[in-house]
Amino acid sequence: MKMSSKNLLFHLVILLLAGACKKDENPAAELQDGKSTVILDLAGDTEAAMSENTPGKVKRPFNIFLFRFKDQKQIWIRNAADSAKYLKTSEWDIAFTGPYNSEIYVNDKSYPYNPGYGGAAESAVVLLHQAYERVVMAPADSEFDNSDITKIGWAASESSGGWFFYSLSSHIMQAIPNRTYVLRLPDGKYAKLQLLNAYKGNPPSVTDLNWPAPYLTFRYYVQQDGSRNLSATD
């Protein structure tokens, strides 16, 4: 029974070192690149539903919300007073409208169906069929001026400018990979945006149509120096 105390201590230390390492369980880790802002699970209008008898929800139009890149402010538009106060201003950069807040608009006063119609801001957006990390340069102004993208939502086909496919049989929104939107903001700065998911927890794909939604996951990077350089890695 002569176990030396040195031995005991040694075994103890080994055991503890083994348990001391910890894996990083941060779910957004792969999306982070150090410069982009990653928004995870931003709640949309989770009370509204498209049909009757959706448990926990009410069949009514979805309230829209506006989003500001600078400080990640979410502004809800629930009634006429909110509309009057915010829509026609430059207080917001993108708007999430439509069913499950899945239809995104950039703040542009010139397009009639844009929430910012007749307002103060003029943005433009183009779609690049490239992965977000690979977009390093904003295209020329002519591309922006000629862009026909207005509402970014359900992509009926590959050639459409939307960000997700939707099947009328499964009723599931499936984000399309390798689509990055480049924005020219009213102040002349350029930004890139990727819309990732409308389902809570940013799952790769979903089969249950009662998966908690809408919880928007997206990421963006605004080039503050005004140049076209959109590389978000150091």
Partner: protein
């Protein structure tokens, strides 16, 4: 517990009111034992045996003392000795191998100096005692550091307490359910239900008693989960002093100065102690918080005084005062160019007076008055714009009076009873409705020694609360000594806890972890106000519909059973089972999400929660001078009503479980429910205390493991399942080293906490590696 004690010749000495005590300590082999700690109570004069195994206390006042001799790896010896005037009593004693923790110090016939007639050992629930020597050897400086290394006790960052306060969790109960007492008197200052244990320095602590399980019978409605009774040092019969200084990582500075002395020929004694502690704080989230800390920096000043005076042969007066001040400021930069400044000043004052009278042998009375004042001034300001985001001045005052009687009816039966009342006022700048709380209580407890082997205890307590009515709580227990090696204990009790002002009315913002807690009564209007101000991202309407006022009081029933087995002198095993059933447990729940991902919580009643589990601890001394102990707790804390709802398919529990990693969904089963937030299934600790004889050094290494625990519901199905956010399980390793010089007057200490430098951003209060060096000098006449 008397071992080989031989009183040798009585040597005459000078002086008529004083005598002396000297002696020789031998180990179990009959060889001299240097380095053993000898203590005299009530003097608390500590000494260590020299190289020849000898010790001497000269010029001590006459009277009856309890002498205790302890050494790592040996059973602590306690015995009574009488010191006569003009003589030096000589002792020779032999220690037996075994566990060295001071168990129950049985003092019969002498004055009990703890200021409380209710004996915690007599509680029906399991009791753990941490002695002063253990605290010294561990090198711990604040109360939370000592407590978190005990089996089944963890320190948690609870919702509503902020990054500053650390709360206790025992057997699945959160800190709101655990009463903290000093010498039997409750401490107030529970900001948001959490009691900030890091406020309390251990420099004046004699002993800590931890009772697990419903102790409402002994201590009233705040003790559903148990109680921690901190017993402070009591009167000296010799003048003595202490100066200590520690410094290390995070610029932690800890300095203490203490002194105590008897006066008027031992009719009275007075003591005073002062402590200064400061720390820089620590950042566990460097990725998102560019500059600033998550574990707060603070300066803490504490001053304490104790006075005892013997009014007559049969009565004595005890006065105590304790003042603490904590100032702290935390600046945090989230990297957005917006810096928040968070400051908190806490003042803490406790005054107590008690009168102890012995009417005749067997009948004692103690009357106590206690006043405590706690004030906390918190404000959070966004530094750029200098606007105040949340300001909170919280003041709490408590007056408490208690009258206790202890009656010994023959040798078999002891009765303790008492009654009292308290008046508590709380005013808080952010509380919409300040108020007062008055309570009345009375209790009786009986202790029967039914036979030599069997003891029973029974008690009853009546509490009356001005807003929640009254409640009667019984408790009983049994202790059975099966044989000299094995004893069994079993107990049951009930508890009751009324919701406090904070859970009902307070709106509280914690900037460190970016969440808001809203009291139930003001929930609807607060959410509306926030929504008007554009501060809301989402409201969970289903939950909101269910809540809204009328938080019910919680009731619990506890069962505890345990055994202590000592198969050999060097091995001791303790094991226990616990089962707590709570009706209407108040738990925090996320009811909305604010802008910038701020979680908004409120409180709800969990209809039928159960905390159950086992805890085991083993102490053994495999070789000379080494003591190893290990402890393990298994806990399951679940709300049974959730399990039933899943089983019955009630909405929302019939929704599919979603796995965000894969996108798969499936129907939940009751077994998919993991349990209540913040409770770990497994907790484990391992400790080794070693005395390295060649260098005369005491060293110890302690490791604590806390298993993973749920942080919050991530996939939105209203209960915790395996896909939700969990804080990973982790190890914390601490070590300390101590060497004494100059005939035990001077001691040098090196302490290392969190050797593995483990931190996690979900644990904002846990600093990384902290190394401290310290020096302590004891002043007394040899």
């Amino acid at each position: 517990m008397i071992f080989m004690l031989t009183i040798l010749a009585q040597i005459p000495s000078t002086g008529q009111t004083r005598g002396g005590l000297k002696g020789l300590v031998l180990d179990d082999q009959g060889k001299t034992l240097p380095g053993a700690t000898v203590g005299l109570e009530p003097d608390r004069h500590l000494m260590e045996t020299d190289q020849r195994g000898e010790f001497i206390f000269s010029k001590i006042y006459t009277g009856i003392y309890t002498v205790s001799v302890s050494m790592i790896g040996y059973k602590t010896f306690t015995g009574k000795i009488s010191i006569s005037p003009g003589t030096v009593t000589n002792l020779k004693l032999k220690l037996e191998r075994g566990e060295s923790e001071l168990d129950e110090v049985v003092i019969s016939g002498t004055r009990s100096a703890t200021g409380n007639l209710l004996k915690a050992e007599r509680s029906a629930m399991p009791l753990t005692v941490i002695s002063r020597r253990t605290i010294e050897l561990m090198g711990s400086r604040r109360l939370d550091e000592v407590l978190k290394e005990q089996t089944g006790v963890s320190i948690v960052s609870n919702i509503g307490g902020g990054a500053r306060s650390v709360g206790l969790q025992m057997q699945g109960f959160g800190s709101e359910y655990i009463m903290i007492l000093i010498d039997g008197q409750p401490m107030v200052g529970r900001n948001s239900g959490n009691f900030d244990l890091s406020r309390i320095s251990v420099s004046n602590i004699e002993r800590i008693e931890i009772i697990k399980g419903a102790s409402s019978c002994l201590f009233g409605s705040d003790a559903l989960g148990g109680a921690v009774n901190i017993i402070t040092r009591h009167g000296a019969t010799q003048p003595q002093g202490l100066a200590a200084f520690n410094y290390g990582s995070l610029n932690i500075t800890d300095a203490s100065l203490e002194g105590e002395t008897p006066f008027l020929s031992q009719r009275g004694s007075a003591g005073i102690s002062a402590n200064y502690y400061r720390t820089d704080g620590f950042n566990t989230n460097p990725r998102y918080i560019q500059s600033g800390t998550t574990a707060p920096p603070y300066d803490n000043y504490a001053l304490q005084g104790r006075f005892r005076y013997r009014l007559s042969k049969n009565s004595s007066l005890n006065l105590g005062a304790r003042y603490g001040l904590r100032k702290s400021f935390m600046a945090k930069d989230f990297g957005l160019g917006i810096i928040s400044g968070d400051s908190q000043d806490e003042k803490d004052l406790n005054l107590s007076a008690s009168l102890d009278h012995s009417f005749r042998p067997g009948l004692r009375s103690m009357s106590r008055y206690y006043f405590t004042y706690f004030s906390s001034d918190q404000s959070v300001a966004w530094q750029q714009s200098n606007t105040v985001v949340s300001g909170d001045i919280f003041k709490q005052r408590l007056h408490r009076f208690e009258q206790q009687f202890a009656y010994a009816a023959g040798r078999q039966l002891k009765l303790t009873g008492g009654l009292g009342g308290s008046l508590e006022t709380m005013n808080d700048a952010s509380l919409t409705d300040a108020g007062t709380l008055s309570t009345f209580f009375s209790y009786v407890q009986g202790d029967w020694q039914l036979s030599k082997k069997l003891g029973a205890m029974g008690g009853l307590r009546y509490d009356r609360n001005n807003s929640y009515g009254s409640s009667v709580n019984p408790g009983f227990g049994m202790q059975y000594q099966v044989n000299t090696r094995l004893s069994i204990k079993a107990g049951a009790g009930t508890g009751f806890k009324a919701p406090d002002f904070r859970t009902m009315y307070l709106v509280f913002y914690n900037p460190a972890a970016n969440y808001l807690v809203v009291g139930n009564e003001v929930l609807a209007e607060t959410l509306e106000e926030l929504q008007e101000g554009g501060q809301i991202s989402e409201i969970r309407q289903y939950l909101l519909g269910q809540l809204g006022g009328n938080l019910k009081a919680e009731r619990s029933t506890s069962f505890n059973t345990g055994m202590v087995w000592q198969p050999a002198s060097a091995v001791k095993l303790e094991a226990g089972l616990f089962y707590h059933r709570l009706r209407n447990q108040i738990n925090s729940v996320q009811v909305a999400t604010g802008s910038n991902n701020r979680n908004i919580y409120t409180y709800q009643n969990l209809p039928r929660a159960v905390n159950k589990g086992i805890d085991v601890s083993l102490v053994l001394s495999p070789v000379k001078d080494l003591e190893v102990s290990a402890g393990y707790q298994y806990l399951e804390a679940k709300d049974l009503s959730i399990q039933d709802s899943i089983h019955a398919g009630n909405w929302p529990y019939n929704q599919n479980i979603h796995d965000p990693e894969t996108g798969s969904s499936y129907t939940p089963k009751p077994s998919d429910y993991w349990g209540i937030e913040n409770r770990s299934r497994h907790m484990f600790n391992l400790r080794a205390f070693y005395f390295y004889r060649p260098w005369n050094i005491n060293l110890n290494i302690r490791a604590n493991y806390r298993g993973k625990y749920p942080f919050g519901d991530r996939n939105g199905n209203q209960f915790i399942d395996r896909y939700d956010t969990f804080v990973s399980g982790y190890f914390l390793v601490n070590a300390a080293l101590e060497k004494k010089f100059f005939n035990q007057h001077l001691s040098l200490r090196l302490t290392a906490d969190n050797l593995m430098n483990y931190t996690d951003m979900l644990m904002p209060g846990q600093p990384g590696r902290v190394i401290l060096a310290g020096i302590t000098y004891r002043i007394y006449r040899d």
